[in-house]
């Protein structure tokens, strides 16, 4: 119980701290949403007029508290650009990003677990070294470059898949799937490359443990011993890494969304920053902060699931 309370307190403090930081940093940038609305029509008088109309001339802490009050009531605010509710903008885009990050991470795990185990078991043979080397190369490839190469091969040359864009699953599931393949591959392969290294070292560690030697000595094959005893032991350190990777996948998704022009959270964030649409930026960033904090909390909980010792301690 104490542990849960502590977690919630940490969550709230981190989130509040981040909200202050984001709000004040973005306000320190030159330019405001009134200028973005007026565009080339902007004159100092019109900007002042519209700023006043949008309440941008009030002290920053008043605006911050107002915004915070709204969020606590479940209202992320309304953008003056087109009068949209932030939640109305965010949630459809969140779906796109969740599919991308979720499927990307799934693909990464599906590739990295067997590949990493293989690389660990065969670490002294050519095949194992080859897998490690491939993973190193994969890590060195920038996400956007990898994405562009996949587009060239599968969309431009072979014409198997669309080059970019998005179709909601509700509109046309087949088209939805075809639009997601390349982005998911791009994100998943890069994340897999990183994960393979961790999986490999986690399992190599397991191979040196006493319990593993014991299991081998009673006649189990290396593979059986690894699955029965190794997997659970490696899972504790791997869940930490996977949690961190999940956060980095969210960042990676912003790049992937740009390359494939997916209307996800990353695209929304970038366009909101360029139009100084603070209400949207604040809403999106704070949502992402919350998402990362939740993932961290889940990772914490997963320790208890994987490791019975943690349970007795708790």
């Amino acid at each position: 119980m104490a542990r849960v309370c502590k977690r919630i307190a940490v969550f709230a403090i981190s989130w509040l701290g981040a909200s202050v930081l984001v709000f004040f940093t973005i306000n320190a940038l030159p330019g405001n949403v009134a200028e973005a609305i007026l565009g080339t029509d902007a004159t100092p008088e019109r900007v002042a007029e519209l700023s006043a109309e949008l309440g941008l001339d009030r002290p920053i802490w008043v605006r911050y508290l107002e915004w915070l009050g709204g969020v606590l009531h479940g209202d992320l605010g309304t953008t003056p650009l087109g009068h949209y509710q932030v939640s109305e903008l965010l949630f459809p885009k969140l779906g796109v990003s969740l599919w991308l990050v979720g499927l990307g991470m799934l693909l990464a795990l599906v590739i990295a677990l067997p590949a990493g185990m293989f690389a660990a078991l065969r670490r002294r043979r050519a095949s194992g070294v080859a897998v490690s080397a491939l993973a190193e190369v994969g890590m060195a490839i920038p996400v956007f470059w990898g994405g562009i190469m996949l587009v060239l091969v599968f969309a431009v040359w072979l014409r198997w898949l669309p080059a970019n864009g998005y179709v909601p699953i509700t509109t046309n599931p087949a088209s939805w799937a075809s639009h997601l393949v390349l982005p998911v591959l791009t994100l998943g392969l890069v994340q897999a490359a990183v994960l393979i290294r961790y999986v490999r070292s986690a399992f190599i560690e397991v191979l040196h443990e006493d319990y593993f030697r014991t299991a081998r000595s009673i006649g189990w094959t290396q593979f059986r011993a690894l699955i029965r005893h190794g997997l659970r032991n490696a899972a504790v350190s791997l869940s930490t890494v996977a949690g961190l990777q999940f956060a980095s996948a969210i960042v990676g998704a912003i790049v992937v969304e740009q390359v494939f022009t997916l209307p996800g959270v990353g695209s929304l964030l970038l366009s909101a920053v360029s139009t100084r649409d603070l209400v949207v930026v604040q809403g999106v960033v704070m949502f992402l902060v919350a998402a990362v904090l939740v993932i961290n909390a889940l990772v914490d909980i997963s320790y208890v699931l994987f490791d019975p010792r943690q349970r007795s301690r708790a």
Partner: protein
């Protein structure tokens, strides 16, 4: 032994094959036109926000005007079949097309036009540009169902052109829609979906009063990265690239029989803007010297792959008063140096602040190096676009800058002292006003004279006019070669 790699290979193969099969399915069954574009409209309300991207989608396609401007820059009837002008040129009588109606079934009649003009006159949220354009209109009056009379405060040639753009978009007075998200126009298409998700979907206006729209749906897809747009075209996902933003990519489409390319003109003058509040730049010799120091032909070749039109003042080939002044001031760095010495500005330092957009940054680098050759130190500072709007456009905190002015017939901006050039030479202001108020046959000559005055006075340096580079699939026809308005006019496009 090779169990694991084989497993991965099979998995990857399955993923690719399964999706490859499904990818052939979409879009063929219904006639849809997919257009690639670069700037997503921040809102759909054309009256509150003058962003060119709004008119690109909505003008003529969704909202119609009394008259429209065609690809050659000429006025053509649209909602009005014809119009008469009174002798003193302050009363315009429009004869409306009796068939014209809104999707609601209501006629686009004299009452609708009057309601639109009255709405504009009382709209305090109207954007600054539209307010300025509206200032000349006195009132609108119904004569009969299909005849409406608009009275002006003073004669004006420009106003009718203004009425072919955002100002003149006629909305259904009976519709109660949020114009920032929905549409209420009489055009061949209606807004079906606008979610700020990099796509806008227009759908056929079933009861359109003119010739039937050619597509069930028209999808505008927006790309932040011009290369992503090009690959989408190469992959066959797009039917049209509305305006290619990477001119060096033109060759790859020209050499491929699957595509057609169109090279035309736009209204986008790339202006090397000079701040006339700067003491040195207030001297005409200095401005002349800077103009002479730049080999604009070489600049256009370097920066935009030689695509575009060299211009010598703020007019483009589709303007009725266009005059080719590209050779007004030939490249002559030696004479430029002399002029600077004569003006006592031999070691001139200028703050050269440009927005981070491809043509501006590349042009600025070329210009800075040319100016270095005549001893002018112009250090380039790149500003993110919204910062550029604040610091350069609004606050005038700069000496030189580069930006393209995409609005049609916009050289009247030089008559506005508050605009970021801070020019408004009294002789120009007088001449421009005179031209605007004169009879149409004399106006063209007078506007020419006014445009020439800008060139003679070196009010700015006009680098070149951006080209209209359109790429289409080979079976797409009817795209306007020139972009004489802000509209990407899809009304004439069809698939063979």
């Amino acid at each position: 032994m090779a169990k694991v790699p084989r497993f991965i290979a099979v998995l990857l193969g399955l993923l690719l094959v399964s999706s490859g099969c499904t990818a052939t399915a979409p879009t063929q069954e219904s006639p849809t036109l997919t257009v690639g574009a670069t700037l997503e409209p921040p809102t759909l309300n054309p009256f509150e926000n003058t962003a060119a991207s709004i008119a690109q989608v909505l003008l003529y396609n969704v909202y119609e005007t009394l008259a429209k401007v065609d690809s050659n820059g000429e006025l053509q009837p649209l909602l009005a079949k014809s119009w008469d002008v009174s002798d003193d040129r302050t009363q315009y009588t429009f004869h409306l097309d009796e068939n014209a109606k809104f999707p609601s079934g209501k006629a686009v009649d004299a009452d609708a036009i009057v309601a639109n003009v009255d709405r504009l006159l009382s709209d305090d949220k109207l954007s600054g540009t539209l307010k300025t354009q509206l200032a000349v209109i006195d009132s609108a009056k119904r004569i009969d169902d299909t005849t409406v009379e608009i009275k002006l405060k003073t004669p004006s040639v420009m106003w009718l052109y203004d009425m072919t753009s955002q100002l003149g978009m006629i909305i259904d007075p009976s519709a109660s829609v949020d114009l920032s998200k929905e549409s209420a126009g009489s055009g061949p298409y209606k807004v079906k979906q606008y979610n700020k998700d990099k796509t806008i979907i227009l759908e056929r206006n079933q009861g359109y009063w003119g010739s039937a729209p050619k597509f069930d749906e028209v999808v505008f897809r927006y790309f932040d990265d011009p290369n992503a747009m090009n690959t989408a075209m190469l992959a066959g996902d797009l039917d049209v690239i509305s305006n290619l933003q990477a001119p060096d990519a033109l060759a790859q489409f020209q050499s491929d029989p699957q595509f057609s390319t169109i090279v035309g003109t736009t209204n986008g003058e790339v202006v090397l803007g000079l701040n006339h509040d700067n003491k040195a730049l207030a001297k005409k010799e200095v401005r002349e010297a800077l103009t002479m120091a730049i080999d604009r032909k070489a600049l256009m070749d370097t920066v935009w792959n030689g695509q575009g039109t060299l211009i010598g003042t703020m007019t483009v080939p589709t303007d009725p008063w266009y005059e080719d002044l590209a050779n007004h001031t030939p490249y002559d760095p030696d004479k430029a140096k002399e002029l600077l010495a004569k003006a006592g500005e031999s070691d001139l330092k200028l703050r050269f602040r440009v927005p981070v957009v491809p043509y501006a940054v590349k042009s600025a680098q070329f210009v800075a190096s040319s100016l270095r050759d005549i001893g002018v130190d112009a250090e380039v500072e790149e500003l993110e676009f919204s910062r550029w709007i604040t610091e350069v456009l609004t606050d005038g905190n700069y000496d030189m800058t580069v930006v393209s002015h995409v609005e049609a017939r916009d050289f009247g901006k030089f008559a506005d002292k508050d605009y970021y050039w801070h020019y408004a030479d009294p002789a120009f202001v007088k001449l421009y006003k005179e031209a605007d108020q004169s009879a149409p046959d004399q106006a063209t000559e007078k506007f020419k004279e006014a445009a020439r005055l800008l060139a003679d006075d070196y009010a700015a340096i006009w680098l070149w006019a951006l080209p209209n580079l359109v790429v289409t699939k080979a079976d797409i026809h009817g795209v306007s070669p020139n972009m004489a308005t802000l509209s990407f006019d899809i009304t004439g496009i069809e698939r063979s």
